[in-house]
Symmetry: C2
Subunit: 355 residues, 2 copies
């Protein structure tokens, strides 16, 4: 419950807990790179004479690997700007509209999009926000299966990998927000699918909950090339790339002719000042491989098509989604940092409030 | 003139000069890895009771970078088998049919395809051979502009790079058998094109003969990233990759959104036991780049379409082709080895005989 700082019968000013970036980050992010502070206050009323503004109560926050890039000092070459030290960080999330002078959003609406990591926000740049139409699903799903990671897996698998029945599919970081869906899409498409993850618990999840044909713990494999040959004696048609580094090098040696690699992320590299060199790119030629990077922001127009497919699948129980939820903003820095050591089991969500 | 070893009025046996691989090659190939020998003889008559055989007099041989791979001890992961030490090496070439029991080929036909590096051949596996239909062009062109390198440049540029008018195009190894054509295709498509090569003479060729907008000597650039930024202040839409290594890493930093990289070759890497690591692949994501390897052997069905385009262009003088021809099999090892230090100025050809 927010602490009322100042209040009358109609308007209150409350403390607004925030997760603030202390300074730009070098190497692996630490909890101490952020501070959870209640120094700020917010007036729970829209400023007078200011149009196009939304006051939101924030509910769920999404922890995503790409956010690491926004902690760098420079945004050169990136598609997002850097966070500003001293201000709250920002990411995809779900919120409730308390007040709005934007005609698209009304009081009581539930919205998803880019939201500051704080309890309440005065949103002046609502370009990324969408009104949540289907409220008969867990609202946190809009940070995952029904949000950016869901569309990412859909676009990457169907639009970039162009799967055919019988294709052999490998997914790295397979129990994560995106990977778990790619694996299930692959099964729905009649593919053979193997996933890698970083713990026994995750491997069990892949096989028992998501229906992967096989799964392995990459941390227990001395020789990734040998591991891939064990599961793909005839090679890999489709690789859904989430990690980069050594795994990518091993995969390149095991691709089949005319294979496709959707480059979604390279989480193993984001905290390195100098990325690992990939030595096996000559297989792109030898095996005639297409390797294609993509960003979900180029595919927002596909949300309706994606929803048309995914909503019935969820309702009919044909697809499942595992979230790892921490409660409270005070636990948010650890949750975000934990992504990079693989602490999360499934999609990492922070619940600030449940409406 | 071949030395007659044994002969009657109708049949002669002659010495058959050959370029023989001594042993598998490790690292950079040397002239001494091959031996030019006249130990073998050949009877200039087809063996009796043997069908489907061609006796050829070999005219022109093509020196191509991919041949380096065939000198390795293992053909693992490759699309071609290794050469056999003690036997002549083999490559694309042009020959004249002396006798044939294959119905597709008749005495006097000119043919192109895979041919042993020797003066005469008894060809028992003519699957790669095509009859040369258009003999009003220099026959050596069938090792280059009208042969495998020509189709390679056509396929790589038009089918893989999907050029649009106004695109910015970068070609490495740009004065070579493939690069010089890619640059000219780019100009014909209304693109801005820059090439890199390894000498002043080659750079001049690019600008003065092939119409590249700009060209530079990569050996004189301390900082390839800075060189590319000089010629592509707004980035590169299309990269036609012939070299790999440091150049690829520099290009990745300079690609534009939705750029395309056709991976045709990586000549800088073929003689290394361990390939250089490519560190900037994260730009595939940030810039949504498609990087696609290809091999011309998958596109032989496009020869008619390619000829339909290229033959008039040559006849009308709208496209030009520079060859670097050495005379005689005894100079062939040096010519082949010279590819890897960039000695050739244009397409490297070996002329054994001019019909």
């Amino acid at each position: 419950m927010a602490e009322v700082v100042e209040g009358s019968s109609e308007v209150v000013v409350v403390r607004n807990k925030q997760v603030v970036l202390k300074d730009y980050v070098n190497g692996y992010p630490k909890e101490s790179d952020m501070v959870v502070t209640s120094d700020a206050t917010i007036r729970l009323e829209l400023p007078k004479n200011e149009g196009g503004v939304i006051l939101s109560k924030n509910l769920y926050l999404s922890c995503d690997p790409y956010m690491r890039g926004r902690m760098n000092t420079t945004s050169k070459g990136r598609y997002t700007s850097s966070f500003t030290p001293g201000l709250p960080i920002c990411g995809y999330g779900v919120a409730k509209v308390l007040e709005s002078t934007r005609h698209e959003f009304n009081k009581g609406d539930l919205i998803s999009g880019l939201i500051n990591w704080e309890e309440y926000s005065l949103i002046t740049n609502p370009e990324s926000l969408m009104k949540i139409q289907h409220t008969d699903f867990p609202l946190s799903y809009y940070t995952g299966i029904l949000g950016m990671p869901g569309l990412t897996s859909y676009v990457g698998f169907y639009e970039i990998c162009l799967p055919k029945k019988g294709d052999t599919v490998f997914v790295s970081a397979a129990s994560g927000a995106v990977g778990q869906l790619v694996g299930q899409f692959a099964k729905l498409s009649g593919c053979y699918v193997v996933g890698s993850a970083g713990s026994k618990e995750k491997v069990d999840l892949l096989k028992n909950n998501f229906g992967f044909d096989e799964a392995f713990n990459y941390k227990e494999e001395r020789d990734l090339d040998a591991a891939l040959k064990r599961y793909f004696p005839d090679g890999i048609d489709i690789y859904f790339e989430n990690v980069g580094g050594n795994m990518l090098d091993a995969v390149l040696c095991n691709m089949r002719l005319h294979g496709r690699i959707a480059v979604c992320g390279m989480i193993s590299q984001y905290n390195l000042n100098q990325h690992q060199g990939i030595k096996n790119l000559v297989f792109l030629i030898l095996k005639r491989i297409r390797m294609e990077g993509f960003l979900v922001i180029d595919y927002h127009h596909l949300y309706p098509k994606f929803f048309e497919m995914i909503l019935p699948l969820i309702q009919e129980g044909k697809i499942t989604y595992v979230e790892d939820t921490v409660e409270g903003l005070e636990n948010a820095p650890a949750a975000l940092v934990g992504l990079f050591s693989g602490k999360n089991l499934g999609k990492q969500v922070v619940a600030i409030a449940h409406e």
